[in-house]
Amino acid sequence: MGVGTFFTSKLDEALGWARKFSIFQYPFVTACCGMEYMATACSHYDIDRFGAGLPRFSPRQADVLFVVGTISHKMAPVLRRIYDQMCEPKWVVAFGVCTCTGGFYNNYATVQGIDTIIPVDVYIPGCPPRPESVIDGLMKLQDKIAAGAQRY
């Protein structure tokens, strides 16, 4: 911007724009999807381009919960507590079919989709999802964040 130019915005939009490029994820990795998550997070696919390059391994410092891998009934209370510990605003990404629906595990041990326990914003299907799907899901989450779609 040169001298004498200006632009206007709404506070919500400015906040949304800032938030969508400063995603601090908490990777809740329980299973094989974790390998694909690592591939996406590393330099080859480089999710740092989207401002999501710094995972925080404390839920209190994170604003997006990445649930990566099968969630068993034994693990469900842990996941719920992690979610409750995160500060608002917060979002949840279900990474892989197991987190979306239980995947092919319909048995005594497996939660049939994490949305039965915590609210989910973006579902990324795949077994495991390719990095392109993950980036697509991340961009959809960015749109959602920019639009101010958040749960309090």
Partner: protein, 165 residues
């Protein structure tokens, strides 16, 4: 040592407590009576010729409603042994009646049997006499029943939180 020689050696030591032996595609199996399994395992481990120093796996099978075994003992507990110095293997099986559902613990012979037996207890509800700490290994304490038993309903769910779907 050749597999059939291993079985012959076991039969020579345990006599009638070896109920049956068979061989399938190079895998040799001995079915041992419940009162002889601890002796058999100890002999397998300590005998210099056998030298089975590694308990590779300890698991169980539920034969409820299995064709041809309707009247027989319901469970088999299965031991897979491997000898590192001799590079040979053998499989031992123990038939277990449903009412007793109990076998001598192998924890005194191989420490790994501790967790393997806890898993079998968790999944099949078979007790191990002399086990130091027979708690569930994989499932949670609140879980009722043993899910790998054939009479555990395939659609029974016991979530700790969330809906019962």
């Amino acid at each position: 040592m050749d597999g059939s020689a291993i079985l012959a050696r076991l039969r020579g030591r345990l006599g009638a407590r070896v109920l049956e032996t068979h061989e399938h595609r190079g895998d040799h199996t001995a079915v041992i009576a419940p009162d002889g399994i601890l002796d058999a395992l100890r002999y397998c481990r300590d005998d210099a010729e056998l030298g089975f120093d590694l308990l590779m796996d300890l698991t169980a099978v539920d034969y409820a409603k299995y064709p041809g075994r309707e009247d027989g003992p319901r469970f088999d507990v299965v031991y897979h042994l491997y000898s590192v110095p001799h590079n040979h293997r053998v499989r031992l099986k123990v038939p277990v009646e449903q009412d007793a559902a109990s076998v001598s613990s192998a924890t005194s012979l191989w420490p790994i049997a501790n967790w393997l037996e806890r898993e079998v207890w968790d999944m099949f509800g078979i007790r191990f006499d002399g086990h130091p700490d027979l708690r569930r290994l994989l499932l949670y304490e609140e879980f009722v029943g043993h899910p790998l038993r054939k009479d555990y309903p395939i659609d029974r769910r016991q979530p700790l939180i969330g809906p019962h779907v």
